[in-house]
Symmetry: C2
Subunit: 254 residues, 2 copies
């Protein structure tokens, strides 16, 4: 039997510890192709590169392991892999492990999850992994057995058509996680404050985006609740933005 | 009575004909503040600028009209307007008129619609307008009365909490549009092909993203169907990515 073909990407760049950890874990499961951004692409959401050309570098090309970097976004990486580099459809796409949370509303800004969503849009079972730890030295060890379990289950059973998984791990506290909770995205909001500084060249102000996350949602079926109780959160994600619940009400616009 | 405060942005840049047209229409309705990207930001989706500082330029500041450009994405523009430039919450956010379709799956790549979604996330009734015409000389004249009708209705009645509107206009064919259809997002997919060229400097290849849109969805309740029948499409949009229909099925991951 052929080994499954696993496409790996992320948004923190091909050299980030999160993707290097994920690559090592995936090599124990199948044939691995990495197409990941050459530089950091955090908070790039579902953006694609249309006004600049794309260039890729071959880092390694062996029989069951191939690694490429691309001067684009995470979604560019998925498109470039599927429609240019690969000669067959991958069995699964895994994205991450992202350094930082993609729970709650963070998913909308996330390049890591956009890559997974793009994969699902192309009909490929896709999973984004993230950990609630921005540190370069984030401890991924407790995540390992969950990643293997989830990936193997998806390879064996597939996922509902065009659904991706958004999996977040709590910051490791020295103990095994309490398990997995399947949940919904919590309702939250970033209240931004822009930190002003003065440019030494001309004395004019410039601003850094710097916000506070507000969790409006205290329900117990959310990803935020699971994570705060040291569970791994798993949210099924789809990319239909239609607000079906309000179509009828808005018929008055016709 | 105070005039309503209208925040305007887009993704084609502050000098694009689509936003200039929208500004003129909005000045007949209320007090206008424009915060729009200084350069083209198409296909930037919900990306935000976190690794570079933001700078803005004052273009005009009078009593009931203010215009600013920002070196950021459409979502940056909304955040910077709401959390930095404005001293009160706008009554409505309008984004566009985008040169090009944001129907079907195009919404996920769109900076224009991301700005509207960001507005709705902040609790402000928000609308994205787009026309199925990429041309600089796109004819917006038939759109005008619909824009006025929709904006006035939203100002009078509001929108469901955190729901934005995705409004697309067919390319003008010399006749009035047939009316508005409230619809759902059609199911579609971009099959990409990357056009290869050789760099004159070093002979190495580079690639342009160049895809074909595949409409899988022939149903009559979609935005694509409405637009192909010369109706204005109006899709209520929300930013909860949870695939509620599959939460129960995926409980087996726990």
């Amino acid at each position: 039997m052929n080994k499954p073909l696993i496409l790996i990407t992320n948004d923190d760049s091909i050299s980030a510890p999160g993707i290097r950890f994920l690559i090592n874990v995936m090599r124990s499961i199948g044939e691995v192709v990495i197409v990941a951004p050459e530089g950091a692409q955090s908070a790039k959401s579902h953006s694609i590169t249309i006004t600049n050309p794309l260039r890729y570098n071959i880092i390694e090309e062996s029989t069951d392991y191939k690694e490429y970097s691309l001067n684009g976004t995470p979604v560019d990486c998925v498109k470039f892999a599927l429609h240019k580099l690969l000669d067959r459809k991958p069995d699964i796409i895994v994205s991450g492990i992202n350094h930082g949370s993609n729970a709650s509303i963070n998913i909308i800004y996330s390049g890591t999850m956009a890559a997974a969503t793009e994969g699902a849009m192309g009909g490929i079972p896709s999973i984004g992994f993230s950990i609630l730890d921005y540190s370069f030295d984030a401890n991924f060890n407790y995540a390992k057995k969950y990643i293997i379990k989830i990936v193997n289950k998806v390879l064996a059973e597939g996922l509902p058509s065009k659904t991706a998984l958004n999996v977040n791990f709590p910051m490791a506290n020295g103990k095994e996680y309490n398990g997995i909770k399947v949940c919904r995205q919590a309702d939250g909001y970033w209240r931004e404050n822009f930190e002003e500084r003065l440019d030494p060249r001309d004395g004019k102000p410039y601003y850094w985006l710097k916000g506070d996350f507000l969790l409006n949602d205290k329900a117990e079926d959310t990803d935020e609740f699971a994570l705060s109780n040291y569970y791994v959160s798993l949210v099924p994600v789809k990319f239909d933005f239609t607000d079906y619940s309000n179509i009828k009400e808005l018929k008055s616009f016709e």
